[in-house]
């Protein structure tokens, strides 16, 4: 990545942050949620580039959120950094175990089993009285290194952390996709046997991607829990995971920025649509999904690529 694009990204990051803080409360709330979901979808996109569609990212989204919520409620830990660290490490450990089983599967089996695992968590949570059963429980306001802002300051804090995370993790994911292991993902999608023949371990490649995706989903869940101040088992329900798949398809897998932009777009559309057409929102989603599959199979990002390709390229 050149110095120029890094500087551009930095300016964009600061602009997003300032813009987000200046927005009216409900909009900055929406924006933070979108950042959180964007991170989950970023992980999903890593998997999708390897040809695997997970219908169960809600598992780690919910795990991350519940770890965050339980830390604030039962252990009285409110430090954002500690919470993030705890929920990511917990989800990564779980992913490392489940991944051993799941990474043997491909295609629809991978999709369905990842869904089943998230439903296991859902099933456990709805029956757990201590954790509030189907209602879930409230999450206390976060703090940072001993600084505890009030309720309004706390949501600004989460927003700042979320934007920072999106940009750092986005750059890291971009770097990762340019690395050997990142490119190997596409090789897995194209032809696994050839990759094995070349000396790569397909299982290891998928396993690593699965764990990274789980970590990203946990961060997204933590951000959502901290900004909304509430967690419930619905986060692990398979429709939540379906939503992530929808956002991923909408953005496309062409670039790390695609899922983030798609998430912002999706959340704004949803807020608008659920106010205007509460009973037809899913139907709109369904038709949009069909339209994407039929006319824009590489997602919205393919429009950007088309635009870029039209510009005459400078000679190197």
């Amino acid at each position: 990545m050149s110095k120029r694009s890094l500087a551009l990204l930095l300016i964009l990051g600061v602009a997003t942050l300032v813009g987000g803080l200046l927005l009216p409360n409900w909009m900055s709330y929406l924006f933070t949620i979108a950042m959180g979901k964007g991170l989950v979808v970023l992980g999903l996109v890593l998997l999708m580039r390897a040809g695997l569609v997970s219908f169960g990212q809600g598992l780690y989204y919910c795990l991350g959120a519940y770890v965050a919520g339980m830390l604030t409620q039962f252990a009285e830990v409110t430090d954002v950094l500690l919470i993030l660290l705890a929920s990511v490490s917990f989800s990564v450990v779980i992913a490392a175990i489940i991944g051993l089983l799941l990474c043997r599967y491909r295609e629809i089996f991978f999709a369905m089993f990842s869904m089943a695992f998230s439903m296991i968590l859902y099933g456990l949570l709805v029956r757990n009285q201590v954790l509030g059963s189907t209602d879930g429980f409230n999450v206390a306001n976060p703090s940072l290194l001993g600084w505890a802002p009030g309720p309004e300051g706390a949501s600004n804090l989460v927003l700042a952390v979320a934007v920072l995370l999106v940009f750092t993790l986005g750059i890291l994911a971009w770097r990762y996709l340019k690395s050997l292991s990142g490119y190997a993902g596409e090789a897995v999608r194209e032809n696994e046997i050839r990759l094995e023949y070349l000396g790569g371990s397909v299982f290891k490649i998928i396993y690593v991607k699965y764990i990274i995706a789980a970590g990203l989903a946990a961060i997204g869940g933590t951000v959502t829990a901290l900004v909304s101040g509430h967690v419930d088992p619905e986060m692990a329900y398979w429709t939540t995971s379906g939503e992530f798949v929808f956002i991923a398809l909408m953005g496309g897998t062409g670039h790390v920025a695609a899922p983030i932009i798609a998430a912002v777009l999706f959340e704004s559309l949803r807020t608008y649509a659920s106010a205007v057409a509460p009973y037809t929102w899913q139907m709109i989603l369904g038709f949009a999904l069909l339209a994407i599959i039929l006319f824009l199979p590489s997602g919205l990002w393919s429009l950007v690529e088309r635009f870029q390709n039209k510009k005459p390229r400078k000679a190197p």
Binding site: V53, F55, L101, R104, Y105, E107, I108, F109, A111, M112, F113, M115, A116, F117, M119, I120, Y122, G123, L124, V126, R127, N128, N191, I193, W238, T239, G242, V245, L249, Y279, T280, W281, Q282, M283, L285, G286, F287, L289, L290, I293
Partner: protein, 298 residues
């Protein structure tokens, strides 16, 4: 002893309900290689059309016994019509695409149907308890069972037998099995694959709707019921092996008994136990109990 009997009966009732739901799902997958996410919506569609028609039928004050015909007839009509619409109007343009893409397409159908149902029937719950209470209850060894539940077991056996007979003893069923083995060769032999696909999808959708109609009298028909059911059906067909009818039967029995045991002994793990069983089966037999493993294509 009493508890064991209760578990056995509840388990069989639940298993037969699961079998009716998953038979359609596994049939469609076996023939068309489409894991039909919208199957749950057909279930909900059947429940809604059955319940609303039964409600209307009883308000006219006609012969109560005929309400079963109304219940099943309404659901089948709705399921077959919408199934035909979905297959001819959408799915046939998508054949030959990746299986994962087909999941997403049927997921879109599910989202559309969920809201279509809300638009047609509203969001208030529907009740069609009359057929359930009409059959009365049986006392046996100090336990009371609803006769309707026993009827459900009978119906599921009938459906299982009909599917078995249709697939193994009729000409169309044999053609269908040829397609399951090899779609391309079947087409080359002159079998009208697309016609059989349409028939299969319509039958699958019809069974799904029938399952919904049969469930409707036992509970309240509410929005979102199809979404809950679809993951259960997936667990069942995956345990038995995708695309295998006998697999669906075994899967339904395993899940049904496991759940009944959990409900009676450890109610906290009711949902968990279903997926735990599924995970256990798959850890040892990744392709499910009854499916033949596919050779990987290079």
């Amino acid at each position: 002893m009493k508890q064991l009997l209760a578990i056995l009966v509840d388990g069989s009732v639940y298993a037969s309900w699961l079998f009716i739901i998953s038979a359609g799902l596994t049939l469609i997958y076996g023939v068309m290689r489409i894991l039909n996410m919208s199957h749950g919506s057909f279930y909900a569609l059947g429940a809604y059309s059955g319940a609303s028609m039964v409600g209307w039928y009883f308000s006219t004050g006609s012969v109560p016994w005929l309400s079963f015909v109304v219940l099943i007839g309404a659901a089948l009509a709705a399921g077959v019509t919408v199934g035909l619409l979905v297959e001819r109007g959408l799915l046939r343009f998508m054949y030959g695409r990746d299986e994962v893409v087909m999941i997403l397409v049927t997921y879109a159908v599910l989202l559309i149907m969920e809201d279509a149902i809300k638009l047609i029937w509203g969001v208030e719950p529907y009740f069609a308890y009359q057929p359930y209470t009409m059959l009365g209850r049986t006392k046996f060894m100090g336990l009371t069972f609803a006769n309707y539940d026993f009827m459900l077991i009978g119906v599921s056996i009938l459906i299982g037998l009909a599917l078995w007979y249709g697939l193994n003893r009729t000409r169309n069923g044999k053609l269908l099995r040829v397609i399951i083995h090899d779609r391309e060769i079947a087409g080359a032999l002159g079998i009208n694959v697309s016609k059989i696909f349409t028939i299969t999808f319509v039958i699958g959708a019809g069974i799904g709707a029938l399952a919904g109609a049969l469930t409707a009298p036992g509970l309240s028909v509410v929005p979102g019921m199809g979404i809950e059911v679809i993951v259960l059906a997936f667990a069942v067909v995956v345990i038995g092996g995708l695309g295998s009818i006998s697999g669906a039967l075994v899967g339904a029995l395993i899940v049904g008994m496991a759940r009944a045991t959990a409900v009676h002994l450890y109610p906290e793990v009711e949902l968990f136990v279903i997926y735990a069983v599924m995970g256990l089966v798959l850890a040892f037999r990744p392709q499910g109990l009854f499916a033949v493993a596919n050779a990987r294509k290079i």
